[in-house]
Amino acid sequence: MSPWLVGFSVFFAYPLVMSAYLSFNHYDLLSSPRWVGLANYRYLFTVDPQVWTTVKNTLWLIAVMVPLQVVFAYGIAMLLARAKSGVGVLRTIFYLPALAPPVAATLGFVFILNPATGPVNTILAHLGIQGPLWFQDPAWSKPSLTLLGLWGVGNTMVIFLAAVLDVPRHLYESAELDGAGPLQRLRWVTLPTTSPVILFAVILGVIQGLQYFTQAYVAAGVASGQASQAGDVTAGTLGYPLDSTLVYPVLLFQHGFTDFQMGYASAMAMLLLAVSFGVISIILINSRRWVHYGGAAR
């Protein structure tokens, strides 16, 4: 058996099959699974009051944060591609946040955006502006997470930078000869040429959005002021404030590892898998209209 097959079986196929099986069982982690048919799915779709809240929050992140991340990373890459001096330093500065561990980065953002003691609101107050409550306000918690997401787009930015620098010069020269201005060159040369990379970034962003966990989990715990209690249960703070950061993977984690309902959590995981598959399929099918691959074949 090849090592690839072993890895695939142990780390992908077996967990997937087991999750599918457990989703039809009552499984509390401590006793043997007990077959319950579709009961977990019925509870998921018709009873659990938090599921639709998490769906809305997750969709918000995918609809707002992911496009902003792609546009922001692309914009930075475009600017860096045009920089004449200090390119290396600028690239490093913009890439550096991507190296910060997500937990540390989230802790830092909750600290600097603390409405009472954080430097951001202190500066705003000096300017006569009353800053928002950021992670403490359900209306601002997801925008705060989005700011955190924009800060850490270094990886995507580097990929975009490579793609932008890879655009053949003669295409720009031809466009210029045809009288194209900067915006037209962007629209008709840069974007089409880099569209496969944009598609890659969008798909990656959507998958990460569907699996968004660490930042939401840490921000809720820290902002609620309950994260420092040794040994205390954290479930009461998940989604703080007012379920506004309760995304689907966090609820899945809560049911699986705090409520010890792994059968139900598996049903949630299967739904996430189906939704991920559906969303990515739609994006791929739709991409045929706007993604241009080099060469004749797509």
Binding site: P49, S224, G225, S228, A230, G236, G239, P241
Partner: protein
């Protein structure tokens, strides 16, 4: 013949040798102490207090060595049981997951061991007996208990001209308003009292005892909407928060120190009165020994309830598939029923000793602040939260509703509570494997 004798002699020598080695090994095994692993939630200073008590046990029992690991929570305990690496003895900071431990058999039923050891249920107070069992199984024992009361800053009381701690909710509200000071820009300077659900120890289960509200009917169905105590507490909570201003309060809280640090808002005088557990006495002693404060039972809505409070506490049990069950039981028995051990733990941790006998132990160091909590523990109206198959998610769902209510996100309290009742019943059914009711 001589060769045969020689071979026989050699065989005998070998046999004797093997026997001797075996005997030596057996002796060595017999004398080698059994290593007992104990997982507890305590950390830092509190962990050292617990280790001191287990060290005494260790010394008195040469047949075992006790290895204590702190900073443990329920997630880690369950993960270890699943992985087959569970400790011999496990302790959880609260009883919320007793329904899961007992219901699944994750922690073994101690009923027969209690019986054979001659430990009757009357050894422990009623509330602790309730929160250490589920579904007819006694899978845990109380290892000290926690109860909750009012801490008040005597200096701030004196400045505000308040003679003593409030006894009723009306007095609490009036005193809190008198003690609250605002800055010129309208922000809070000092808060009289903060009942905000989610702030420090404020949770619904700890609050409704002051209103005498119940959770379940005789068939274990949720009855929050039918109990006036629940809606009365929530209405009071909302009106108090509205008086201060929701956003103003949230902003003030964001700037307060961590609960379990020397920057605790009550300890540094940013909150004049606070609802907290008995352990705060030890924290104040360690972090702010000069703080001029007092303790009292929580003010109540019904005067007959004054003196009572919410009770919960650390529990201890033996995870299934343990390799040293007998030794583990002996240690659990010692920690939970030995008056000396409980008194020593209580003195160090300033948690309430959890047997009837240890409550009056002469070894308990007298402390006026702490004595309040011993009285609350013994009050007949003191109560705890329900133990259900849904574990901690049950009380969390109620907390979730309360946080929405206090933020003004629930338009109709009565129908909201009725819906919450249905949700809680559904959660219990789902946790038991029943799916949709």
């Amino acid at each position: 013949m001589s060769r045969t004798r020689g071979v026989l002699a050699l065989l005998v020598l070998c046999a004797l040798g093997i026997a001797a080695v075996g005997a030596t090994a057996a002796t060595a095994n017999k004398s080698a102490p059994t290593k007992l692993t104990v997982w507890v939630g305590w950390s830092a200073r509190e962990l050292s207090v617990f280790k001191k008590v287990t060290a005494e046990y260790d010394k008195a029992h040469p047949n075992v060595t006790v290895d204590v690991l702190g900073g443990i929570n329920d997630d880690k305990i369950v993960a270890a049981i699943r992985a087959g690496n569970a400790p011999d003895v496990a302790s959880s900071f609260n009883s919320y997951d007793v329904g899961i431990y007992c219901g699944t058999g994750g922690w073994i039923d101690l009923s027969s061991k209690l019986k054979s050891s001659g430990i009757p249920s009357s050894t422990f107070p009623a509330a602790t007996n309730y929160y250490t069992q589920f579904g007819g199984k006694k899978c845990a024992l109380p290892l000290l208990a926690d109860d909750y009361g009012l801490y008040y800053n005597k200096n701030l009381f004196k400045t505000a001209g308040i003679a003593g701690p409030p006894k009723t909710i009306a007095e609490l509200t009036a005193d809190a308003k008198k003690l609250t000071k605002f800055n010129p820009d309208g922000s809070i300077k000092v808060l009289g009292f903060d009942p905000f659900v989610g702030f420090y120890e404020n949770t619904p289960e700890r609050w409704v005892t002051a209103w005498g509200a119940n959770w379940l009917d005789s068939s274990n169905k949720s009855i929050l909407a039918k109990q006036p105590g629940w809606s009365n507490w929530m209405k009071w909570l909302k009106s108090y928060i509205n008086w201060i201003g929701y956003k103003k309060l949230v902003k003030y809280q964001a700037g307060l120190g961590d609960e379990f640090s020397a920057s605790n808002a009550f300890e540094v005088g940013k909150v004049a009165m606070n609802y907290d557990g008995e352990w705060r006495v030890a924290f104040i002693q360690a972090e702010h020994p000069n703080l001029n404060y007092g303790t009292a039972p929580m003010p109540v809505a019904n005067p007959k309830l004054y003196g009572s409070g919410y009770i919960n506490g650390t529990i201890i049990g033996i995870p299934k598939n343990g390799k040293h069950e007998a030794e583990a039981w002996d240690l659990v028995k010692y920690l939970t029923t030995n008056t000396h051990a409980l008194a020593e733990l209580s003195n160090g941790l300033r948690n309430v000793p959890s047997t009837q006998k240890s409550l009056t132990s002469s070894e308990l160091t007298p402390d006026a602040h702490f004595a309040t909590f011993l009285r609350i523990f013994g009050n007949k109206y003191s109560s705890t939260s329900p133990i259900t198959a849904a574990g901690v998610s049950y009380t969390n769902a109620v907390q979730n509703f309360a946080t929405k209510w206090q933020a003004g996100k629930v338009s109709n309290l009565s129908s909201g509570l009725a819906k919450l009742d249905s949700q809680l019943d559904a959660m219990v059914k789902q946790a038991g494997g029943g799916g949709v009711p």
